[in-house]
Amino acid sequence: MRRIRQYRDPLFWISLFSCAAVSAFILLPLLQMLCEPTWQGLCEAMADKTVRRAIGLSLYSAGWAALISFVIGTPFAYLLARKSFSGKRIIEGIVDLPIMIPHPIIGIAILGLTGSEHWIGRLIQEAGIRIMGTVTGIIVVLTFVGLPFYINTVKNGFEAVPVRLENVSRSMGASFTGTFFRITFPLAWRSMLVGLILCAARAISEFGAVIIVAYHPMVAPVLIYERFTAYGLEYSQPVAVVLILVCLVLFVALRIVSTAKGPAGAGMSKTKFSA
């Protein structure tokens, strides 16, 4: 009876239509692209050293961006999750800025700051660090665009750990650091892993800012763009398909690890993702 009533409800049909439309909107272009290249074209792409190097560089620089985000973003996310202070909303807005700004602008801004015209740029160059056209530059850009995803996800993960657990731990003699590593981290590590996945995923897909800072060495999105502009759709598609497949395998594996049933109560199944 209840099921029949549900079928009569217009909202049920609207929801069903919306679900089908969204799925088709996302899947159709991707499926089309996955089906387009020939098997031979795919094999050639995988055997191509340039393609392998570009995808490798994408994964390498995205991995570094995620690691840097983990190191500098975790304490910051904890602070945002646990403390209330004046200006907190402004700081949260600043963290979200890289999500909103058009990415070529990010590239231009980073170049402006790290160029020889700026004193910070001169300091960096004197320290032997080069940004323009280097892997370092790519990692800086990818960290810039990926960091908000990591911080927002981990902040939600920390917020999902009741502060009373930390209070009890402190009252039983554990220091702040001891409490973090024995209580907060075991309960929030899954949110950190999800944050790393999101950060790395965002970094791998970055194009607009990278192309400004470092056209060479080529990351995968830049190579796909170059193949498209120089040789057309047919030559860019196999590279894109290889990149999608590599990322799919990697991220599905990480997702499985992050949602695998761990010790009871651990993890952050209730964590919301705002980014």
Binding site: G173, A174, A264, A266
Partner: protein, 345 residues
């Protein structure tokens, strides 16, 4: 011993203070008050979780005001148990042992005794997420006591439990207090819990202490209309006093003795009012005439609301008496209030 000296806490939209309070060693002291009165804030300030804006906190004579929570030697039990969900029962209980000084570290035998005392010895390897509310609270209690705290802070430890379990945990708390001799400082809004467990109490209202003293004294002799209502006295009236007589708007009552000069109110406990269909004309008792306007059945007892020409009174009666009154359908009832049942403040 816990001593609060001029303790003040300033938060956006709420201020607590300045509180002076002494909890004697080995005592079970209760902080009572309605929701939002500042009870939990006081507890968290003592625990060192909440920064205070003024005052001093001493535990066993040592000024712990600037010490972090882990250096204060306190245990805390929350109403929602706050068990570590990623650890088993025994790992929860043993959590704090590594931080105990060797001289203060309880032996495995002592932990086993505590677990047996609280009836959780068979749950040692269980996942805490699979426990019932009562079991969780037992684990939380053993965990807090396992580190031999000088003071155990209990934040409404019974409020998340259902009625039957609540009574069991109440008895357990009492026996643990007697067995360990630890100073207990409990927060609750339930006066019956406080009476069962505590020896002395402080009543908090809107961040201020209204009254401190032995619980029976507070129950029998409230010092303000707020405390009177809080301890379950609905019959509170402003009054003027002339010798052994209290005069209210429209009626007067004899008192057992002359009230203190500063008294401004009377309070009559509902169980001190006797209701009769006819007057016994006892010259020593205050007698008022009224009509029953409402009867509420609370199971073992009932509450009868009587409207007199001057005021409304509430009286509690054993259920049997209330039902007899209900079936006799009296047009008028006589309220008999003995002079020693009229409390002045």
């Amino acid at each position: 011993m816990v001593k609060l000296e001029q303790l003040a806490i300033e938060l956006p939209g709420f201020s607590l203070g300045r509180i002076d309070l002494t909890v004697k060693p080995g005592e079970c002291f209760v902080l009572l008050g309605p929701t939002g009165s500042g009870k939990t804030l006081t507890l968290e300030a003592i625990a060192g979780i909440l920064p205070i804006s003024q005052g001093r906190i001493r535990i066993n004579g040592i000024d712990v005001t600037r010490l972090p929570p882990e250096k204060r030697g306190i245990g805390i039990v929350y109403q929602d148990f706050a068990l570590f969900p990623h650890l088993s029962v025994i790992d929860n209980i043993n959590y704090g042992l590594r931080y105990c000084k060797k001289t203060n570290r309880p032996s495995g035998k002592r932990i086993a005794e505590l677990m047996a005392h609280t009836g959780i010895d068979h749950l040692a390897r269980r996942d805490v997420n699979t426990l019932s509310g009562g079991e969780k609270q037992r684990v939380a209690l053993v965990r807090a006591l396992s580190v031999n705290p000088s003071v155990l802070l209990l934040d409404e430890p019974l409020s998340a439990l259902d009625r039957g379990i609540r009574y069991e945990i109440q008895k357990l708390l009492k026996s643990l207090h007697q067995e360990t001799g630890t100073t207990f400082l409990m927060v609750t809004h339930d006066f019956t819990e406080a009476i069962f467990l505590g020896q002395r109490a402080a009543i908090l209202n809107n961040g201020r202490i209204e009254q401190t003293g032995p619980l029976i004294d507070i129950l029998r002799h409230p010092k303000s209309p707020f405390v009177a209502k809080f301890v379950g006295i609905p019959n509170v009236f402003p009054a003027r006093f002339k010798n052994n007589r209290a005069e209210m708007d429209g009626f007067a009552l004899k008192l057992e003795q002359k009230p203190a000069d500063a008294s401004t109110h009377i309070a009559i406990r509902p169980e001190d009012i006797c209701l009769h269909p006819s007057s016994t004309l006892d010259a020593d008792t205050n007698v008022l005439i009224g009509k029953i306007s409402d009867m509420a059945d609370y199971g073992p007892y009932g509450e009868v609301t009587v409207q007199t020409p001057a005021a409304t009174f509430k009286a509690t009666l054993p259920r049997r008496e209330m039902l007899a009154l209900y079936h006799s359908q009296p047009g008028e009832v006589f309220l008999q209030i003995p002079p020693d049942g009229v409390h002045t403040f």
